[in-house]
Symmetry: C2
Amino acid sequence: MKWTQSYIPTLKETPAEAELKSHQLMLRAGLMRKLSSGIYTLLPLGFRVLKKVIRIVEEEMDRAGAQELLLPVLSPSELWQATGRWSVYGQEMMRLEDRHKRLFALGPTHEEIITDLVRHEIRSYRQLPQNLYQIQVKFRDEVRPRFGIMRAREFVMKDGYSFAADEKSAEEIYGEMYEAYDRIFSRCGFRFRIVEADTGAIGGSFSHEFMVEADSGEEMMVVCGQCDYAANLSRATSADDIPGKDEKPAVLQKVSTPDKRTVEEVTGFLKEKPGKLVKTLLFKTEGRMVAFLIRGDDELNETKASNVLNGGKLEMAGPAEIESATGAPVGFTGPVGLKNVEIIADKKVQCMKNMVAGANEKDAHLKNVNFPRDFKIDRVADIRQVREGEPCPKCKKPLNIKHGIEVGHVFKLGTKYSRSMNAVFLDANGHEKQMVMGCYGIGVSRIIAAAIEQSHDENGIIWHKNIAPFLVHILSVNAGEKDVVSASEELYRKLDSAGVEVLMDDRDETAGVKFKDADLIGLPKRVTIGSKSLKEGKVEIKDRATGNVEKMSMSEAVDCLKAFQSE
Amino acid sequence: MKWTQSYIPTLKETPAEAELKSHQLMLRAGLMRKLSSGIYTLLPLGFRVLKKVIRIVEEEMDRAGAQELLLPVLSPSELWQATGRWSVYGQEMMRLEDRHKRLFALGPTHEEIITDLVRHEIRSYRQLPQNLYQIQVKFRDEVRPRFGIMRAREFVMKDGYSFAADEKSAEEIYGEMYEAYDRIFSRCGFRFRIVEADTGAIGGSFSHEFMVEADSGEEMMVVCGQCDYAANLSRATSADDIPGKDEKPAVLQKVSTPDKRTVEEVTGFLKEKPGKLVKTLLFKTEGRMVAFLIRGDDELNETKASNVLNGGKLEMAGPAEIESATGAPVGFTGPVGLKNVEIIADKKVQCMKNMVAGANEKDAHLKNVNFPRDFKIDRVADIRQVREGEPCPKCKKPLNIKHGIEVGHVFKLGTKYSRSMNAVFLDANGHEKQMVMGCYGIGVSRIIAAAIEQSHDENGIIWHKNIAPFLVHILSVNAGEKDVVSASEELYRKLDSAGVEVLMDDRDETAGVKFKDADLIGLPKRVTIGSKSLKEGKVEIKDRATGNVEKMSMSEAVDCLKAFQSE
């Protein structure tokens, strides 16, 4: 492709709207433009990257035996009502009314739609398993769209769904998808981690997220520096020790703690360590009150807490609600004597001895609180958040907390949707059974942004060969000179006819502008053709990633770049 | 692909909902399923065809120098309001409100969106021309969705837009697109005609439709049996003679025609030929009344009539309105003495002599009406519909009227959108000019249905090789026998590893079911492997289109099918 026949509107200035490096570079390098908040056009250069990503995804999905189809964007409200998601999705789901006043959703995901399809066709275990996927534009009306296509309202997603006759078969497909994802993200050139993810209210025992490591990532993951342990924050555990677990229970004692409300204030005043205190956090959920107990030096992970309540929405109780539930103002809540409130304790709380806790009385705390002597626990669960440096649950080495960009998610759904939508089949004995499902997502357009986020420098993008819009950038320095023009044209023609993806900057611009744009666009190999080196019969090839420069003859350059393409 | 590992739900019965053959076959052959009225899922087999069509379209568009991008589905109402199409589109355009109460359209087409993109980037004639396209799902809330994906509410379209500095450049791109479309539809295996199309209210002198010949087609085209003349009904003309044009004007005469209202009644009663009468058709348009004059034996083409009024909406006047405008009831309207009504006459009316016309008086007509002696004409235009058998305007041989399916449309838009959206650039002299635009559409998903409509028999689909979901269908007759199974597997493996697209029916079904399904799905070559012919060391290859059967050895079969694939 020649630049003058392309549509590559690069920008000299960084647009003010863009915070994230990938967002800035996608605008500056002419990969995309904003049409409206969270809604973007992919320009030809950006679209070429998208197509390369799509091809990688398709090849690996097909290799894993999945079959591609295309579901509609519009889906009738009835299907969403069957699973309850018409209301659960709330404002995030975009909806419209057709000319006959029928309500439709613009698919944010397609579990309902594909389950509806399959339940009408599959009757027998002989027709199972099925593994179907599509690559499609999806819609989510994000509260705060941001970071360009990283968190957009319209985006391209690969969503796949599997249907199996039993758990074993479902797990086999899960494994195949896991492997396929591993290959896909490796081929995209990512440094990524596969983390155990929260299965949440959906149940089922498997879920993994594929996280591209990037400091700017919105997601947090807990990874071991030593072994392969990796999990997201709402799933991670540690082998943290429980100090003081061997203490003997002492006599319960009420102490005056005037105006001491926070963990620091109370434990400082009582000269205890924060880990001695048990925090009692009151939340409202579906019209009732629950209390989460957690050690004073730990933090509650709200996703873990919500999962205990099957994904119920949690809202922190307000001062009036706390006073009415406990009889005391904020800061003095404790589990002892707490009535009409479900008490859910973190695993670590069970083992604590001689705790400090609020007395449910203004300006008072209790010392030497002990379970089960002094209070009841309705449920015990892992609800704390793992901290940097805690010991790995597998190998006891220190854990790190890192930022990441989620690009893929595999999920064993179980029978959640087949149950509510009655997707059943007859097994070998003629018994009706629910299909066991899995779902598998990839943020296809997000991959473009994630790739740039992970691979750029101060001058621009550094594309991995497998997803670069072109592989070779021909740049002529003295474009006014006949020799330079004809050498450039010749190289372009030779590479193009050899099937090497090449972009030639044939614009009437200064060398400075061209060099800047070449670095900005970031194709893997840049060939510079100038009159000086041409007199020695040489051209210059620069590797964008390493910065290495090699001089060679024209025919060597052609061979070298052909070899690079087919490597 | 093996059938048991695929998702190909064929149907034995023809679904009642489907009228059109292509619609029936797409359902029966497991190419698609309906989700809601006019909204379909493309199943894996249908999706494979779609991908092949997309690849052909992309290859030919790219070869013609166009560049692919991806515009959003959602577009803000403001852009549509700028061109007035927010209201013009009416209920056909699907719309939604986001969480911030902003209105968006689901793109039925993208002139506004791409013009908005280009006007912000293109400043100079040096950056022109640009030819950009996308392949995308589109939305149109059809009043009466029908014929499956032929007229759906959600469908895949290729829409391209070109921007040029002047008419000449715009026409060059138009020509390139015309040629590219010719190649695209040839490669899809269509018998098609390129017809001159109506440019309508948009203006500009070029528009062509690419019509697949099919008796079931919704569109009508006028084609010459002799020369290459072809036009759609709202554009077609003929070299029809004007009988009686040499008559001398006779004296105007009022005659009593009690209760004679229709052309047949009046001319029968007066013993004149229908071609002697001039019909006066009253229509309302934008709050006023217009009269169209047309010869008694001609029909008005409403699109042509509307084009005279720059695409204004036409509504036939009711009895009360006719009486109030003419003073007479329906059936006695004529041009003589007609006041406060614009009179638009067909070209042929001008030359008529001694016409019969309504007298604007109950039970009376006029004889020997002559223009311009007896009435005025405000505008003369071609508003009649060409009839089967009329002489071709180019070669005078008889014209045929045929049904067709529109699969493509190229359009020279001129400055309609660049004017209303201020898409301007500076020319070589620094003067601001409006870009000259063209637009180019292809009904990508419709191509699948059109191909089936044009190529099927009573047993099923007959795919053209270039768009067939697979090329080869392996069918084992005695699937219980070891030799047959191993021969089938061997052939499958050899073809698959040679890159031949092959589907093997490995189901545990009777030969009858398998043969029926093979014909239904309609892959170009079927290989039958049975124990009897296998004993002679032979397999059987049947051509789906011709029905020709050849017996050959396994290795000959492999060579033959490899050659077929690479032909």
